[in-house]
Subunit: 396 residues, 2 copies
C-alpha cells in the first residue's frame, strides 16, 4: 500500500502570474472559520451580505448577483447554459483564449455560433460586432472585458448598444476585471456577467460571482427547453440564493466566507482607491520593464493594469525564465497562451498583489534572471524607473 | 450606500445533520495554507497524492479518480453529462431525493429515462432493475449507494452484475458513503462514482471526488457528440489531472489542500477503524433514541451508520424542534426531504462527527427539547442505553 503523503507544506510563492493572485491574510483566515450548515440562519445572512457586496462591485441594482459554486469557467458556463438554447444565434467576439472558450461552450450548447475574430492583443471594434449581427435576430453577444490571455481591456458600453439594437443580451467576462478596473454593468447595459475569485479579489480560486439583469432573467424564465445543466440552472440557484431559500446543492460554506471577507477588504479600502492603486503600480511596473529594455505587447490605451503582457526577449527560453524565477526567487509569472504561447510573459498585479514591494521584487529578480540568460540589462534601471513613477505621483 | 457588513463570526455549531459535518481542525488549518499556482510543481504533486488517496478510499486501481471543482451535485452531473448522450437509454433507481435528482439530470441531457421507483426508506431489489432494463440496449444504470434523504444503504454488487448483463455502465452516488462505510468500486464492478467532501470526509463542501473505470472512460472517448458541458468534460479534466497537465480551469487550490488533509486524516486512523467507529457510535445512538421512545424509519439491515432517520414524535413540530436544538444547544440536525418532509429527523454521525461525546450531547439535548414539547421521555434513559452499547463493546 502507498505510504501516506507528508504534511502539507506549500512554498511561499509571490503570485504575479495571471491568477491565482496573492490571497489577503484576512481571506485565508476566513476560510478556516467554523463551518455552519448551508441553511443555517447565520449562513443565510452571510449569503445576503455577499450578494449586496457583489452588487456594489458589479455596479448593478440587480439582486440577481451571487457566486456560482465553481471556478470562473463555471461562471462562464452558467451564463451561457442559461441564456442560450439550441438553435439560438450567438455572436462571440474573440480576441484571446477566453473568447475562444465562450465559442466552444456555445457550440456544445447547440447555439448557432457567429465568431468575430481579431488578433491577440487587439480590442474588438463595435462595428465588427454590428456587422456580425447583420441585423438578424440574435440571442446573445459575448465578449471579454479583460482578456487574461492578452492583457487587453475592452470597452463595453458601445458593444452593449450594438447588441441591444437587435434585442440581444450582452454577456461580459469580468473574471480579471472585477476588483481591478471599474465595472458598471447597469450604466453600460451588460445583461450577464461572470467573474472569478482568484484574480483581483485576493481570494483563492473556487467561486464564480455572476450577475443577471432583469432582462436576462426574463429571457431565462421564458426558455422553451429546460437548462441542460441542473447544477447551473439559474432559476434553481436563485431559489436558494434569494427568495424562498429552497435547498438546491450544499453551498461551499467556507469559500463563501472567504469571498465575503475579500469583498469587505475591497470595500474598506474603497473602490476608487483600489482602482488607483492598480493603475499606479502598473505604471511603475511598465516604466521599470521598459527601462530594462523589455517591450509591452499591448498598446497603452488598451492595457489592463492588472495583467501586463511583455514580449519574451530575443534568445530567451520563456519556460526556463519562468522556472528560474520560481525556483530561485519563489516568484510565479505566467507564460503566453494560444497565439502568444512562447512569445509573451504575463505579469499580474492583482488585488492584494498590486503593491509597491512586489513590483520592486519582480523587477530586481528579472534583472538577475535576464542577466543570467545573457541579456544586457542596465543594472538597477528597472527599479529606478519605477521609483520615478512613484515619486512623481507622491509629489502631485 | 449600504454599510460594510461586520467581521465574520460564525457560531460554533455541532453539525449532526445530513452534512456539512464537523470539519476536522487539521482540515480547517489546511484550507488557509499559502495558495500556490494551479500549475506550480508543488501543486502538481499535491494533485497526484490526492488522486492516489482517493483511489484507495474508492477501492479502485483506476487512476481516473480526482475531485471535480464543484459540490457533490457537480460530481453527479459530471458523471451523467459525460456518460449519457442524447437518446441513450438510462435506468435510474430511485428510492429517495438523490435518485430523483439523477433522473432530472438524465432528462435534461436528452437521455431516454426509465425509472425504477420504490418508496422512501426501502432499498432497490436487483430484480426490479433487471425488469426495467428488459434486456434492451441500455447505456447506464444509476443508483444511490447511501441515500442521504432516507438513511438507506444499497447493495451494489448484484446491481452491477445486472447492469453488465446488457453492457450498461453502473453509476453509484457515494456522496454520503465515502469514508463512512466501505466502498469497493472494482470488486463490485461500479464504473462511475461521485462523492462530496462535506459528509464522512470531515471537510467543508466544495469538491466532488469522482472515479471512472476504464470501461467508463472508453465509453466517454467514443461518444458521438461532444459533452454539452465544457466545465465538466472528463477528457479535458483528465488532461489536467493526469498525463499532460494541460491547463483547463484554475483548480480550487485551497479546497484541494483541505481534501488532501481530510484523506490523510482518514488513512492515518485506518479504514477499518474508521468504519468500525461509525458503526459503534451509530449503535449507541440508536439504542439511546429507542430508549427515549423514538422510532427509527429504516429497518436494521438497511441502516446507514452515518445517516440516521428518526420518526418525528406525534404532536411535535419538526421545524420547531430543529430550531430549538439550534438556538438553545447550537446543534444542527436535518429535517425530512421529499416524502419524508415533516415526518423524519435526519441525524448524521459523519467522519469527525462520529464521536462518543457528540452522541451524548445530542441525546441529552433531545431529552430536554422533547420534554419542553410535552413528550414523555424517561430521564437519562437515552444516555444510559448508549453507555450500555459502549461498555459492552469495550468489555469484548
Amino acid at each position: 500500500m502507498d505510504p501516506i503523503p507528508p504534511q502539507l507544506d506549500p512554498p511561499s510563492r509571490l503570485l504575479m502570474g495571471p491568477g491565482p493572485s496573492p490571497v489577503h491574510p484576512r481571506v485565508l483566515a476566513a476560510l478556516s472559520a467554523p463551518t455552519v450548515g448551508h441553511l443555517d440562519p447565520y449562513f443565510l445572512a452571510i449569503m445576503d451580505e455577499t450578494r449586496t457586496l457583489l452588487q456594489r462591485l458589479f455596479g448593478t441594482t440587480s439582486a440577481l448577483s451571487f457566486p456560482v459554486s465553481g471556478t470562473g469557467s463555471a461562471g462562464m458556463e452558467a451564463c451561457l447554459a442559461n441564456a442560450v438554447e439550441p438553435g439560438d444565434r450567438v455572436v462571440i467576439a474573440q480576441n484571446g483564449v477566453f473568447g475562444g472558450r465562450m465559442a466552444d461552450m456555445v457550440e456544445r450548447l447547440g447555439g448557432d455560433l457567429v465568431r468575430v475574430e481579431v488578433p491577440f492583443g487587439q480590442a474588438i471594434d463595435p462595428e465588427r460586432v454590428r456587422a456580425a449581427i447583420a441585423n438578424k435576430p440574435t440571442k446573445l453577444v459575448g465578449i471579454v472585458h479583460a482578456e487574461t490571455s492578452t492583457g487587453v481591456a475592452q470597452e463595453l458600453q458601445e458593444i452593449a448598444q450594438v447588441a441591444h439594437e437587435v434585442e440581444a443580451l450582452l454577456l461580459a467576462d469580468c473574471v480579471t476585471s472585477l476588483g481591478g478596473i471599474p465595472v458598471a454593468l447597469d450604466t453600460w447595459g451588460v445583461d450577464l456577467a461572470y467573474a472569478g475569485t482568484q484574480k483581483c479579489l485576493s481570494c483563492p480560486p473556487g467561486l464564480a460571482p455572476v450577475s443577471f439583469s432583469q432582462r436576462a432573467i426574463e429571457a431565462i424564465r421564458t426558455r422553451r427547453h429546460k437548462v441542460a445543466s441542473w447544477y447551473l440552472d439559474a432559476t434553481l440557484l436563485l431559489n436558494y440564493w434569494s427568495g424562498e431559500r429552497v435547498y438546491h446543492h450544499t453551498a461551499p460554506v467556507n469559500m463563501v466566507y472567504g469571498l465575503r471577507e475579500a469583498l469587505r477588504v475591497v470595500m474598506q479600502e474603497g473602490l476608487a482607491q483600489v482602482y488607483a492603486r492598480h493603475q499606479l503600480h502598473h505604471r511603475a511596473l511598465v516604466a521599470g520593464l521598459e527601462a530594462m529594455g523589455l517591450r509591452m505587447l499591448v498598446s497603452p490605451p488598451l492595457r489592463l493594469p492588472q495583467l501586463n503582457t511583455v514580449e519574451v526577449p530575443e534568445g530567451v527560453d520563456d519556460v526556463w525564465l519562468r522556472r528560474t524565477l520560481l525556483d530561485d526567487f519563489n516568484i510565479e509569472i505566467g507564460g503566453g497562451l494560444g497565439a502568444f504561447k512562447g512569445k509573451a510573459l504575463r505579469i499580474g498585479l492583482m488585488g492584494h498583489g498590486a503593491r509597491r514591494e512586489h513590483v520592486v521584487t519582480l523587477l530586481s529578480a528579472l534583472e538577475s534572471v535576464l542577466g543570467a540568460a545573457g541579456v544586457n540589462v542596465p543594472g538597477g534601471a528597472g527599479v529606478h524607473a519605477a521609483n520615478q513613477v512613484w515619486h512623481a505621483a507622491a509629489s502631485r
